[in-house]
Subunit: 339 residues, 2 copies
């Protein structure tokens, strides 16, 4: 019965499933970066006219959902399901961002890999014939993430050179049955990999082994070599994690150095913007895809990407328990044209 | 293309999908309740030989996963995907419980409705032909939940009569393509409903409107009356929420009073056990199903249930923001025999 499983752990989508529209909103820091021109809305203030950073994070999602629907000329009632998640405790931003939508809601959590999980599940529900239109929406915020996972911003602590800068924003995409693409054609849900890293200021190193595991399994499942893809784009490994990923793949005789790029590297100019290892957070891959990569694909500047949002599955609780940082990465195949 | 959508927001599964095996572990309080004899493992101590409550909660899941696989005579490599979630910040128990499994992992979050979301998504992935075997696993723990959502246990604060008692434990189920049932035949993912309730010691009242919304939409989507079901079982409304649910349905001219029961009411003897409104938490519906309801169905004492885990989507963050408690409920149709 599992005619849509391919290899050991991947799904193949036999029906056309398009990413029909995207919307993204970012904070001021992202608005000063190299991708600034690609984002729909750049907020000038972290607070986005709300009273707290947390409320701002929910507001990002709400604004972005409204924008997505307006760009697609749809009403909330046209959407079959919203699949959403974020980093704020029990997915707080997503709950409150989706609260007034009156659309069936499936909460997911994959830390910064959440966007990949959402794209994969959305495509799965459509390909299985259960729904026609899904929205995947994920958010993060620099100020809420720093106080949750690292140190209170008010301390003004010097950041480690291996640390990344959590992207503030929300990326939302509309995924539909049929359409003109770009098409989601495959999905490899990842396994949890934990190599014992404990430093929340070096998440690239914690996540690189999970990214390598998923990418290698994906290529093996689909019997593909890296050059099948124009780009293999990880979510938020940053410069440190990206180097490790390429090295880890080389150890398995797979060279992805020509195809690989990382949303965390793309979104900031690390030298000018003092972001050190690069961008991170749920929104890092979501806004880089929704803003930049999607438009590149629409213009046929790139045709095939393996999109691999990466997540460090840590929490204040796991840290307080002295635990290491488990990681997971989910790979989504996105192609401008179907074969 | 959405030939498996039924009504406005429900899915119908056209292939046989069985709940082939279940496993459950509970804490000492549940072991003194009326369902004690149905649980696979009753821990005598909250800590379950771990150093902290949080580690105990992860250990519950790990033990329960091992037990499930051993009961089903399967290896982890036989499982296509684990779908899991809990209440501990960023799904900490699930991450660490599944960390060593080496099985593709999809994290979900629906608060105490998580078990329903997991069952529904598992069935969806199987029916769509993407996988053959899924495990859904959810956990909660009284001691970790009280300190997260209400008050530190050390204070010894008197509990409100509307308060529920979070179930400590893990319920895990193996869902497979084919098999001899009980069969998952339908799924209605719920919408977020927020009526402005702010009291974390009265979650039944916060969740009842979401349960009513999902149940009424489910019955309408499938063109069924409540008497199609032997039981309509909510997750953890407790006595307060159950009364409200029946009332809310009556306002829409649907009488579910004969069919309705609630896992939170079933799992404790509120008078003898001082649990006030009843049981709650992710594990409440999961262990009550895995232990009690599943065996009732296997013995054909009940044949058709509409199983509706209910979730209060709150967090310390939402509480600190002065926010109300949004809720969601997901409905899963489980039948001993397929028509």
């Amino acid at each position: 019965m599992s005619q849509n499983k391919i290899g050991a752990q991947s799904f193949i989508f036999r029906n056309p499933i398009s990413i029909t529209e995207t919307a993204c909103i970012v904070g001021p820091k992202e608005g000063e970066g190299p991708l600034a021109g690609y984002f729909d809305i750049v907020e000038k203030e972290w607070m986005a006219n709300e009273k707290t950073w947390e409320k701002a994070e929910s507001a990002y999602m709400k604004t972005c959902l409204d924008l997505l629907l307006s760009k697609a000329a749809l009403q909330p009632s046209d959407i079959d399901v919203i699949i959403a998640g974020d980093l704020l405790n029990q997915s707080t931003s997503s709950t409150f961002g989706a609260r007034d939508s009156n659309v069936p809601y499936l909460g997911i959590f994959g830390a910064c890999s959440t966007f990949g999980e959402g794209l994969g599940l959305s495509a799965t529900l459509i390909d299985g014939g259960f729904i026609e239109k899904a929205v995947t929406s994920v958010s993060s915020h620099y100020c809420t993430a720093e106080k949750t996972f690292r140190l209170p911003l008010e301390l003004g602590t010097q950041r480690a050179m291996t640390a990344s800068w959590t992207v503030s924003g929300n990326g939302s995409v509309l995924i539909t049955s049929g359409g003109n693409g770009p098409f989601i054609t495959g999905f490899t849900p990842g396994k949890i990999v934990d190599m014992g890293m404990k430093n929340p200021s070096n998440m690239g190193a914690a996540m690189a082994p999970a990214a390598a595991d998923t990418i290698l399994n994906h290529l093996s499942d689909f019997c593909r070599t890296p050059d099948y893809y124009d780009m293999i784009v990880t979510g938020d490994l940053g410069s440190v994690g990206s180097e490790l990923l390429i090295e880890l793949c080389k150890c398995k005789n797979v060279d992805i150095s020509k195809q690989h790029n990382d949303c965390g590297v793309l979104i900031f100019d690390a030298n000018k913007q003092d972001t050190h290892a690069g961008g991170s957070g749920c929104a890092c891959s979501a806004v880089t895809f929704s803003g930049y990569l999607y438009k590149q694909m629409k213009n046929r500047e790139i045709d095939r990407i393996l999109f691999v949002p990466t997540g460090a599955l840590m929490s204040t609780v796991s840290n307080q328990q002295g635990e290491s940082i488990p990681a997971v990465a989910h790979a989504v195949v996105i192609e401008s044209a179907r074969e």
